[in-house]
């Protein structure tokens, strides 16, 4: 990189082997550059987001009216299952890994990720996994229809699509584990001199903890679905009652993975919001240390709450009480975070550019999802609303308005650094307002549907649910179309737009804003000194 000098102006005499990126397709196939891989992850997740979104629109189309209009019930179940799997494992998780790849080396002053070639592999494993998922729609019997949780005994019975789904999950799990090992090693070993752990940016902290969670629970998921696979084909009886197994045990093993997984999908979002809010309030993040401890507490507590997904499986009352109180305890560190963000905004000189709009929208709507989570945690209420649309509303409030809005916020915040161009502010604001309004039109009525007793995962429903379902379907199509605005904004920012300097946001802080925009192909080859 003799042409593009590194930001500190040190000159290099040793590096004629570093140039810009090679051109053509092979650049992307063979790249070991963290920025390229981050870009690949982000595009992959966006494509999967649109795929999962189309499946969701298929669901909402069918539910627009009572009765069976478009799909038979088997295909409807495939739609709900694949929507869940693709959004969780194909869209949200890879998007956060994309952010991690782009930002962690820039934020800690490292030249690249610790294991650059493994990084390439963890991305390219995702592509065959996604292809397996999509292909499974076209095999006899169709895709897996057991719900994204793949509960036994449904999952021990279905056709070939289930096996393809299991293999896809295995591959995605391996990819996540490799990505996490990379992230933990990079953060622990490659921070710039002077950057102690407690000086590290919040995004890196939340990802460090998330990566540990992934390393701890992804192997458990792999175990659970391997047991399903051997039950299906190799005569074991882990979940087959006739052979001495127990289908409820699948739920225990799955949720031992599944609940930490919930936090895997939200902790990096907390990290992004903890960057955006201080930047646009033009104040330091309030309570940095308490943010770190709150994140860690959430991660530790996430291992002892799994059975709150299973209150209706016939658990002793003492077990229900334990899991209820443990779950409610998580509201404390989460509350610490929300109050810290609000305290950061307090008396700040706030402006509301698109990243800040999404961040404030996140705090508002995510907190609503958090409150419905508390309601679901109360055992007697949960027994009423288990498997109803109330639960659907709850987890879409935290996953769409939580994780996804944080991803949007982060994209708008860092896209000037990624592309060197300012995005179109008008379109960005339109994207925000369309998203948050249509989001609420889609998911708010689901609370009422759930309280009135409408079960989830059904293609047809009693006529008294018709009005709210029609409203939700209209909202869903509005929300889906609004995301095309985002695509336009991103494409426009890549192609051109106002050129930005090193630091386009006056309140932004961190090492990533000390390098030029767009960030050169190689950065921090000489580690910066952090005071």
């Amino acid at each position: 990189m003799s042409a593009v000098l590194d930001q500190h102006g040190h000159s290099h005499g040793h590096d004629d082997h570093h140039h810009g990126p090679p051109s053509g397709l092979m650049r992307w196939v063979m790249t070991t550059n963290h920025k390229d891989i981050g870009t690949l992850y982000l595009w992959f997740s966006f494509i999967m987001f649109l795929t999962g979104g189309v499946l969701a629109l298929g669901i909402r189309m069918e539910l627009f009216q009572p009765g069976l209009q478009y799909w038979n019930p088997e295909f409807f179940n495939q739609l709900t299952t694949m929507h869940g799997l693709i959004m969780v494992f194909g869209a949200i998780m890879p998007a956060f890994v994309g952010f991690a790849n782009w930002l962690i080396p820039l934020q800690i002053g490292a030249p690249d990720m610790a294991f650059a070639r493994m990084n390439n592999w963890s991305f390219w494993l995702l592509v065959p996994a996604a292809m397996l998922l999509v292909i499974s729609f076209f095999v006899p019997g169709g895709a897996t229809a057991a719900g994204w949780t793949l509960y036994a005994p449904l999952s021990t019975q279905m056709g070939l699509g289930m096996d393809l789904g299991i293999f896809a999950m295995h591959i995605m799990g391996a990819s996540s584990i490799m990505g996490s090992i990379n992230i933990v090693t990079t953060i622990l070993n490659m921070r710039a001199p002077g950057m102690t752990l407690m000086k590290m940016p919040m995004f890196c902290w939340t990802w460090l903890i998330t990566a540990y969670l992934l390393i701890a629970v992804m192997p458990v998921l792999a175990g659970a679905i391997t047991m399903v696979l051997t039950d299906r084909h190799f005569g074991t009886s882990f979940f087959n009652a006739a052979g001495g197994g127990d289908p409820v045990m699948y739920q225990h093993i799955f949720w031992f993975f599944g609940h930490p997984e919930v936090y895997i999908m939200i902790l990096p979002a907390f990290g992004i919001i903890s960057h955006v809010v201080p930047a646009f309030a033009r104040k330091q993040l309030f309570g940095y240390a308490s943010m770190v401890y709150a994140t860690s507490s959430i991660a530790i507590l996430s291992f002892i709450v799994w059975a709150h997904h299973m209150f209706t499986t016939g658990m002793p009352a003492s077990g229900q009480l334990f899991f209820m109180y443990a779950t409610m305890l998580i509201a404390v560190p989460t509350g610490v975070k929300v109050f810290n963000w609000i305290a950061t905004m307090w008396k700040g000189s706030m402006t509301f550019e698109t990243p800040m709009l999404f961040a404030v929208g996140f705090i508002f709507v995510f907190t609503m999802g958090g409150f419905t989570g508390l309601i679901c945690a109360v055992t007697p209420i949960d027994i009423q609303i288990q498997d109803t649309y109330y639960v659907v509303a709850h987890f879409h409030y935290v996953l769409v308005a939580g994780s996804l809005f944080a991803l949007f916020s982060g994209t708008y915040y860092w896209i000037p650094k990624w592309t060197g161009h300012m995005y179109d502010e008008g379109l960005g604001k339109l994207h925000f307002w369309a998203s948050i309004i249509f989001f609420n039109i889609t998911f708010f009525p689901m609370h009422f549907l759930g309280l009135a007793g409408m079960p989830r995962r059904i293609p047809d429903y009693a006529t008294q649910f018709a009005d709210f379902n029609a409203i939700a379907s209209v909202g869903a199509f509005g929300f889906g179309l609004s995301q095309l605005i985002f695509l336009v904004v991103v494409l426009k920012a890549i192609k051109g737009g106002a050129k930005v300097g090193d630091k386009p946001w006056e309140g932004a802080e961190g090492l990533e804003w000390t390098v030029p925009s767009p960030a050169p192909y190689h950065t921090f080859e000489t580690a910066p000194q952090v005071k």
Binding site: A216, V220, A222
Partner: protein
């Protein structure tokens, strides 16, 4: 990246890979752990004889209707109770007969799994004798009658007036069905 740092990175990677392996093993260790918990707490013992309730006084003040149901899951067996339903007093020892016929030309092995509705009644329904306590092998075209002996614990809530006992026979693959 200098070589000292690369070596440090490799060391971290090995440590993390060990954690991955341990957690994979932990996932499988949950299986015996789960069985142990169920055994200690006495939940989910579907295919074991229950102890007779300590208080064997017959509660003649009320009657409970017990309905019998029989299914087979992918198993070509004809399986039915000889009695559709009976009325019993809690605490009373009752015997009913189920009949199973293997309609195939080859011997087959199956295991019956009971389930109860309402769920709250399950823990008060004590089976003292049942064909579900072990796997059953039936020769080709063999027909057999099995008794089920049970007591309903008088401690059961008075709100429960009907209990459905449903058995499902599952094939045990690889046994006697070559």
């Amino acid at each position: 990246m200098d070589s000292a740092q690369a070596a440090g990175n490799r060391e971290t990677r090995w440590k993390l890979l060990v954690v991955v392996l341990i957690m994979g093993g932990f996932g499988y260790a949950l299986v015996p752990f789960y069985k142990a918990i169920c055994e200690i707490t006495g939940i989910n013992e579907l295919v074991k004889a229950d102890a007779k309730p300590a208080n064997t006084q017959i509660d003649t003040s009320r009657k409970v209707t017990v309905e019998f149901d029989a299914n087979s899951n992918h198993l070509p067996w004809r399986f039915r109770p000889l009695t559709g339903s009976i009325e019993v007093h809690p605490g009373e020892l009752v015997q009913v007969i189920y009949e199973v016929t293997n309609v195939r030309d080859r011997p087959m092995t199956g295991q019956a799994i009971p389930s109860y509705a309402p769920k709250a009644a399950a823990q008060y329904f004590k089976k003292l004798e049942c064909f579900c306590f072990k796997q059953q092998t039936l020769a080709a075209h063999e027909s057999r009658q099995f008794p089920v002996v049970f007591v309903i614990d008088p401690d059961m809530s008075k709100d429960v007036t009907t209990i459905t006992l449903s058995y499902t026979f599952f094939e045990i693959a690889g046994k006697g069905n070559s």
